[in-house]
Symmetry: C2
Subunit: 180 residues, 2 copies
């Protein structure tokens, strides 16, 4: 990054970047409009040019997080694609432990949210599920994987071999993914 988020004119991107840094550094509960403004050396109201309110700020952060997900190429086998997506989600949780909970707390509505979902749906349909069943299975899988990842970064697996646990959960889910 050439320009730190504290120089130049304010943009939505700079506001979101600063919010991400602040939330990751001090915790999500410390992310306030006023603290964020201080971080950017600007009055609190200046933020409202780029974000309609705090809700919008949080939605923007979710979009930013989801945009980081690398999606598997559709030419790969569907099982491999699901596995890659699970790993990507878990890696995202590790990269942003303080923010990942947002994804489970608030429903993702923006454009970025549909990208990974569509990728999972394609994989499940390639695995032989009809569209309806695939939609149901997608919700179940994403709930499990995100719940697992969140539990992990929230320290709920303290003192456990997380890798083994994840592998075990995945191998169970693998059988589950397309079983009638």
């Amino acid at each position: 990054m050439r320009t730190p988020y504290t120089s130049g004119s304010l943009t939505r991107e700079r506001v979101l970047n600063a919010a991400l840094v602040l939330a990751e550094r001090d915790g999500l509960e410390r992310l306030s409009m006023r603290q964020l403004a201080r971080e950017l050396d600007v009055s609190p109201m200046a933020l409202y040019r780029h974000v309609t309110n705090k809700e919008d700020l949080l939605d923007g952060l979710i979009e930013r997080l989801l945009a980081e997900l690398r999606l598997p190429d559709d030419s790969l086998g569907w099982e491999q694609r699901l596995r890659m997506l699970a790993d990507e989600l878990r890696a995202l949780a590790h990269r942003h432990p303080g923010l990942f909970g947002l994804l489970l707390q608030r429903r993702a509505v923006g454009a970025q949210a549909t990208r990974p979902r569509e990728s999972v749906l394609r994989a499940l349909r390639d695995g032989g599920l009809d569209p309806d069943a695939a939609a149901r299975r997608e919700r179940l899988l994403s709930t499990v994987i995100m719940g697992f990842a969140l539990s992990e970064v929230a320290g709920r697996f303290a003192g456990v071999d997380v890798e083994q646990e994840f592998e075990e959960a995945l191998s169970l889910l693998a059988g589950l993914a397309v079983a009638s």
Copy 2:
């Protein structure tokens, strides 16, 4: 209830009851110490006699919620017990849609939290799992069931046949519960 929560002397129980009513009526985000005090016709500081701080209030609410869970009798078959526990958790989510999210948000630490967990562990061990595997499986199952219940009350399944979805998820989990 003979005595509404606004009469008589303040107790921890009355504070928690009022907090539950308030959170369920106006939403968890509106549950504040000050609003709660207003509800109880008392100064905000009076609450601090019965609750060390807001964290403690929220932990108390979690304990209250978990205490409502009816646990299956251990003489029943282990599969039936798991099924009953899943139904109970889902029913709890329906009874307290505004508060249920607390259970996933903060780690349950109190005495009531171990009751359902122990019940699940006994069922899984009766199903043939060794203690270690049972512990892992318990975390996976509770994550899935609570994630499902939360998604449901949070409206993430809007426009879907939730009953069918739950049955399908459970039947998948059933195979999953003790498969090697």
